[in-house]
Subunit: 403 residues, 2 copies
Amino acid sequence: MALVVQKYGGSSVADIEKIKFVAKKVVDRKRKGDKLVVVVSAMGKTTDNLISLAKKIIPNPPEKELDLLLSTGEIVSVALLCMAIESYGQQAEGFPGYFAGIKTDTLHTKARIQKIEPSKILEQLKKDKIVVVAGFQGLSPEDSITTLGRGGSDLTAIAITGAIKADICEIYTDVKGVYSADPNRVKNAKLIPIISYDELLEMASSGAKVMQSRAVEFAKKYKIPFVVKSTFEDGEGTMVKEIELKEGAVVSSVSIDENQAKISIFRVPDKPGIAGKIFSALGQKGINVDMIVQNVGRDGFADISFTVNINDMEKTKDIVEKIAKEIGAEKVITDPDICKVSIIGIGMMNQPGVAGKMFNCLANSGINIEMISTSEIKISCVIRKKDGEKALIQLHKEFIENK
Amino acid sequence: MALVVQKYGGSSVADIEKIKFVAKKVVDRKRKGDKLVVVVSAMGKTTDNLISLAKKIIPNPPEKELDLLLSTGEIVSVALLCMAIESYGQQAEGFPGYFAGIKTDTLHTKARIQKIEPSKILEQLKKDKIVVVAGFQGLSPEDSITTLGRGGSDLTAIAITGAIKADICEIYTDVKGVYSADPNRVKNAKLIPIISYDELLEMASSGAKVMQSRAVEFAKKYKIPFVVKSTFEDGEGTMVKEIELKEGAVVSSVSIDENQAKISIFRVPDKPGIAGKIFSALGQKGINVDMIVQNVGRDGFADISFTVNINDMEKTKDIVEKIAKEIGAEKVITDPDICKVSIIGIGMMNQPGVAGKMFNCLANSGINIEMISTSEIKISCVIRKKDGEKALIQLHKEFIENK
């Protein structure tokens, strides 16, 4: 008998038939003797629909009220899933996030979990009920309802797993697990049976839409293992856990991010503090900068290039142009026609030649590299957007299929 | 400066434009110096849609989960109305019913308010905020979300008015107030400026869809005056309060209930306890019986007729046929083709001749009366359904227009 936390995302509970399917799956598992806490997201596109409703009232809805609004989506899923579970003859207890003891700070729309008081969940488990919890939401110290940011249900599930000391957390989704590349784009993409927290984090920041990063960070911090698997298809899925660095560890996945844009500032006077000025100004406006490359020329001027999310490109340009004028830089150029390809794998940096192999692979495919950045377990290259697909397939062939 | 509780029903917040209209109205009122608590229902058909969603899972959804599901409807309205109020420059604080201190019993789907702890509402009013409360919902002693039954938002508003000792409660709806008859059916129907709790209660039980009876009963019990008025049209509306019996008080309204069916049991042995047996059996199954007529013949047998809601007719027939067999009655006949017309007015019973005038009016219109029942302030007649419209118009002419 195991204590299991399961999480079903919006696509797994998108309609009544799917909710019934999930209920059946949960009930079958319960009958095998496991104790279950089930975390659910809002049905399908509910959250998007609620946001667009709010935007009809006011283009920038106040965040506290937005949280109150959005929190209804998951509660609907909780109520319907409980009904379906009971229709299959098992007792269920449904909790909005704020009754499940999920205490957050007051940062509405992206609240952080402060602590979880799992006594009510444990009490219902003791009564042999299946506990169904609304993901994505919590309660602030001021008793207002908060939400944990997009994909926050993953975080709810992981955090509850830690709080109730469950044996395992199962994240159910519409894919069979974590792949070596997006299977919709790389037909030979392979399911990865075991992956480390760090690799999964790097994948998320490299454009792979797997899981909310904060949930993975939380799992890493508290060493909470979890499995990513498919709701509707059988399979073992991908186990995510702490992995010891092994000799000869290699590239585990290849990913592409096509939502990036490149900003270049030419002939920046090479004086201390100028890069700081630019990037702290962007930080203040909430713009995340990804890769940064700076080349200092011999004449005391530097060219600075960096990438941002394509949606932030215009906003970034406005801010940077103002600063460029102040500091006497020559000009600012924006380029939305780029993409970023990455290879990820733990211990990569101890394997000499991985980077060279990547650059050669791209060069042999006739693809020009515009920017490079590296971390312990990742190498990323910015290339032309039109070359992205080819790069992805060639890198996957080189590092995954041929190994 | 007054302390005002307003309630806006589902048709008043049916879409974004209407929510904005209500917000504007609320904000204008606030700017005139009043302190405001606003109770809202779910948008338009939301509650019905949620119920039909639940019924797709299971035809008889469990009530506790149904309450959790339905409670989301009003929360959406609260969040959107708060946003709209803030977009007009006033501060708002939104409360789900359970955070507003509305404590109920555990009778899910028709919970009764046990007490209201208004400290959070008062705290926000003190901060000069407009408080927006989700109608229709509360919290059970077990911390599960309850709902107060159809039209429960009226009850929420009235109960909060009492708890915070507000100066007035304003019930906003899609009509200009309480009319002497349904204005959609009787073109000369008149708006009633002042009406007593009792008359409004009798109107509700006579088929007039004005307000939830429990809300009116609650207002009567605690002597909470309220006004029924239109959201979208100007006007004074109808003031509902305790009215002293006046000499010469007359009929204030005429109503029709077309959702009744008649059940007749023929040749019932006239022994003590038989009527009790029938009606307690129906009561146990939750079937409300309205009018009851019994005629005892000389031969020791009686005919019993009574009316129930038409939706309960088949269920009633099954129960009554079983009892009829046991007690040796001859047969049971059901008749869905009836309706009930009523005249209502305080002090009517002290006015000799009102009943006679009603019966004559119907007779002169060629309408046959099948059953009669009277109370202190009401006379009802069961007639053929096809005669209902004519009866309504003739009675209104006789008692309202000609007076």
